[in-house]
């Protein structure tokens, strides 16, 4: 019998992470465990917000806060599923045997980020349309949404891995995620407000990038201990 040593080089981890991402994407497209809930929540909240608060659409501070509230709560409604579903379907053992912990984290992170972007592609145009928002700097606005989505995804992925072992998963996910995500929300709301009014939001964008890099680095060190028993 030949033995295939588990490769641990960066290239192999990236290829393995890509396999995890592709697997999650195919399973999601076929079963729609998370995306339906997230998009439904996002669209419902945008419509509810626009009914009651569309008069403030011209106020960039209020609009950006409402936009990120919609994004945050939509994300919270679905991102916790990434690891919980593996446990419920008894597939986490299969994943643990086949892929290295860091590949699992990166694959799940990429999948959660893709879900965030898909949700933003639906919710943000609706929000801008219904709230009659004026966006002065579309480039910065889009960059903040993409990087803000990444920052939400990196924290939510780690929190989801932690709560997958717990009994009261839903409540615990929100409790763990909230303090982790306060810096993200504060920067994203402030930066988006500046981008809407045409002011320079580069410092907020930089903070979101640094935050994401920090949490990804920390997660790559810690994830093994959370994922493996």
């Amino acid at each position: 019998m030949k033995n295939i040593k588990r490769q641990s080089g960066f290239g192999n981890i990236v290829r393995s992470a890509w396999a995890v991402f592709a697997k999650d994407l195919i399973c999601e497209l076929r079963a729609r465990n998370a995306i339906s809930a997230i998009i439904l929540f996002a669209v419902t909240s945008v419509i509810a917000v626009s009914f009651t608060s569309s008069v403030w659409g011209g106020d960039s501070d209020i609009s950006s806060a409402l936009l990120w509230l919609v994004i945050y709560f939509s994300a919270m409604s679905g991102l916790s599923r990434s690891f919980v579903h593996e446990d419920e379907a008894s597939t986490s053992g299969t994943l643990k045997l086949a892929a290295q912990p860091n590949a699992v984290y990166l694959g799940k992170l990429a999948f959660n980020w893709a879900i965030m972007i898909a949700m933003e592609l639906v919710a943000v145009p609706l929000f801008v349309l219904f709230m009659s928002c004026k966006i002065a700097d579309w480039g910065m606005f889009t960059a903040l949404l993409i990087i803000g989505g990444l920052a939400l995804a990196v924290s939510a992925t780690m929190a989801a891995a932690m709560v997958a072992r717990a009994v009261v998963k839903g409540a615990l996910f929100a409790v763990i995620s909230f303090p982790l995500l306060i810096p993200v929300l504060a920067s994203a709301v402030h930066g988006t407000s500046l981008a809407m009014s045409g002011q320079n939001a580069a410092s907020d964008l930089r903070l979101l990038v640094y935050y994401s890099i920090t949490i990804i680095t920390t997660s790559l060190i810690l994830f093994k201990f959370i994922w493996e028993d």
Binding site: R6, S90, T91, G93, T94, L97
Partner: protein, 203 residues
Amino acid sequence: MRKLIISNLSHSFDEREVLKSLSFAFDGARLAVTGPNGSGKSTLLKIMAGLLLPICGEIVFEIDGVKIDRSYIKSFVGLAAPDIRLYNELTARENLKFLAAARGCKCDISAVLEEVGLLDRENDPVGDLSTGLQRRACLAAALLHDPTVLLLDEPSTNLDGKGRQMLHEVIEKRSETGIVVLATNDPDEAAMCDEWLDLGACA
């Protein structure tokens, strides 16, 4: 020369002690782990596979005088167990393709599917397969990377006559050059093995 050495192994879940200072040495190709329900058969196999860390003690596999490094153990073992399932949304072939990609190995997926008799149902979603065929698919996943140590937990459960025959052939073939460990209460399966480890007697 194939050896399995278990030294002073203990494991517990919360307050419940499942394995207590278990020591055992095995020199052969096929080992049956037997014992009543709850005696720790599945736990022992999961520790062997590197899925669980024991509270204390260690397990060493030695093939032709070479110790298998525990940090690489998942590359060397294949585990098929009732609570380790494949993705229902993917077909049997897609599952194996994913596992091969995740492991970073080039595996002959068709050969493995043929070995477990699943080639004609390879494009059916695993969730649509019968329980017996799902067990075959899980066995295929365990065999995919040609493991040196094959761990089978209650492998014949839900298998029909043909399935059992296939399983016996797999055990015969894999034990020619590697180690096969069977957790079972089936006397016929246990009889195929060189030695028995009765966890009921160890308790």
